[in-house]
Symmetry: C2
Subunit: 336 residues, 2 copies
Amino acid sequence: MSLTLLSPLDMHLHLRDGEMLANIAKESAHTFSGALIMPNLVPPVSTKEEVIAYKQRIMAAIGHETFTPYMTLFFKPSYDKAFLTSIKDEITAIKLYPAGITTNSEGGVSGFDVEELRPALEAMSELGIPLCVHGETGGFVMDREAEFVSIYEKLATAFPKLVIIMEHITTKASVEALDRFENLYATITVHHLLITLDDVAGGMLKPHLFCKPIAKRPEDRDALLEVALKGHPKVMFGSDSAPHPKHAKESCGCAAGVFTAPVALQLLAELFENKLAPLENLQAFISGNAQRIYKLKPLAKTVMLEKKSFHVPSDYRGVVPMYADEQIAYSIKTVE
Amino acid sequence: MSLTLLSPLDMHLHLRDGEMLANIAKESAHTFSGALIMPNLVPPVSTKEEVIAYKQRIMAAIGHETFTPYMTLFFKPSYDKAFLTSIKDEITAIKLYPAGITTNSEGGVSGFDVEELRPALEAMSELGIPLCVHGETGGFVMDREAEFVSIYEKLATAFPKLVIIMEHITTKASVEALDRFENLYATITVHHLLITLDDVAGGMLKPHLFCKPIAKRPEDRDALLEVALKGHPKVMFGSDSAPHPKHAKESCGCAAGVFTAPVALQLLAELFENKLAPLENLQAFISGNAQRIYKLKPLAKTVMLEKKSFHVPSDYRGVVPMYADEQIAYSIKTVE
């Protein structure tokens, strides 16, 4: 049994920089046609020169693969229309981080005062630049995302023409917000479709499944599954694949992030098959919806997967993937 | 500034066996007058001979310290009155584990059918042997304890003269059950008075704060603090101090348990001072309530603590304690 996916897109990817970039970029570039590249380097990617230089480093790291890094800029309230106009052609979106909420987000937004954000967000709205948001407050870990929904609603109401993407949503509350506002969209990771907090901390503690936002309750995962499996038109796949060296995960203070890039398509194929979801819904989730929402024309890439057991490596050059050393049901057969 | 505690008791302690027992037993025996020793060895302590032999190994491990190991037996529904009568003088309580719920609990109870449990629990009730319970269902990790409250209520109703101790409670739901049933009591750890899930998984993931039951929500901790700080007469200190080797905590599947034995009294002194709770409430929590509930006459031990910064060691013979390598506000001054 096999299935074919056309031009898969990963609309939320961390490629890091330097040695890590060199170590892991090909894992995404091999099977994906393109990916939206997160800008939370140290320092964050926030000028035209930095975007261009980072894109060049990514292209060097992926070698001969057919792959488009869709670049993003780290949001700052100080961005004005002249600056955004000048950078518009180099970027696909701008990513907003609340300050201090995740890896390398220290320079993010610390208040969500609409008037303070208005110049930048109105300019983005006019220029057609989508806003990607890491939507968590500084509250209790299980409530952070649900608490942020009121901020999404405030932004969606104040900037009704701005495309706002709720990144890596993990809760029923975020899913429900999707249909209340025309300009709210979402990405969902593969790991949040598969695990709950039980998998992270219900048996042994599993650092390689620890991420931000943390996996939530079973009813939250059910809500995510419902929209993903039906290929809901406002929902896109975004892996949030986030590599850390093994020692940074297995230590007395483990960094947040699940490395799924090399196994994401195989896991999605298995999940959609197990749940009896039509292949066209997976195609919409993995590429079609993103093409429409972001107005992308991705490079042609045809990925054939087959139902053949794949032993996930224990690590990819020092980075431990999800399901390391376990068997998963699908393999990549060909990429053309 | 200093304060004096008389005959501190730790009513829930894991001393393990073999090399680990030899490595950590003195940490409890030095500052505590006695402790209720959990029976979840491999195999579990479930015969008179095993109780006696384990107690001897503990006495050998603690050396010259003045310390009473109050022994427990691993509950089995098959225990009958003749057996319990024969073992009564060797044990202080019997510990019930739902099957598979925590470290070395595979042989525990897998159903809570009152009629199946009646012979053993009625005999315990008649003989005055308290029942200590690890109260978690197999449900979602944040709900397990609250879901178990209905089982506590069933047991408390069916066996109204049986002293039932809800061990290491972590939720508002358990606190509320305390006052609904005359024969329900509880132990509370020091770490559950200090941390929530935010401390375990809200920033970096902290394996050394991972335990079962997992730390819960802020409102749960507040409920625990309320009864502990007022020295609620049905609530006792039980550290649930549970050592694991460092490599078993900092790995890709971290074992559950926080090692607090060497710092518990210092942390409680600081907490009660910070919260302006009277010293007599701490004395009730740390010893008085347990003496009354369990009818104990502990060995005389006078522990003087002083408000003087203590640098917690990075490990105690390979076991990482809570607040390893950090400063805490109180030190043990003298033990007599």
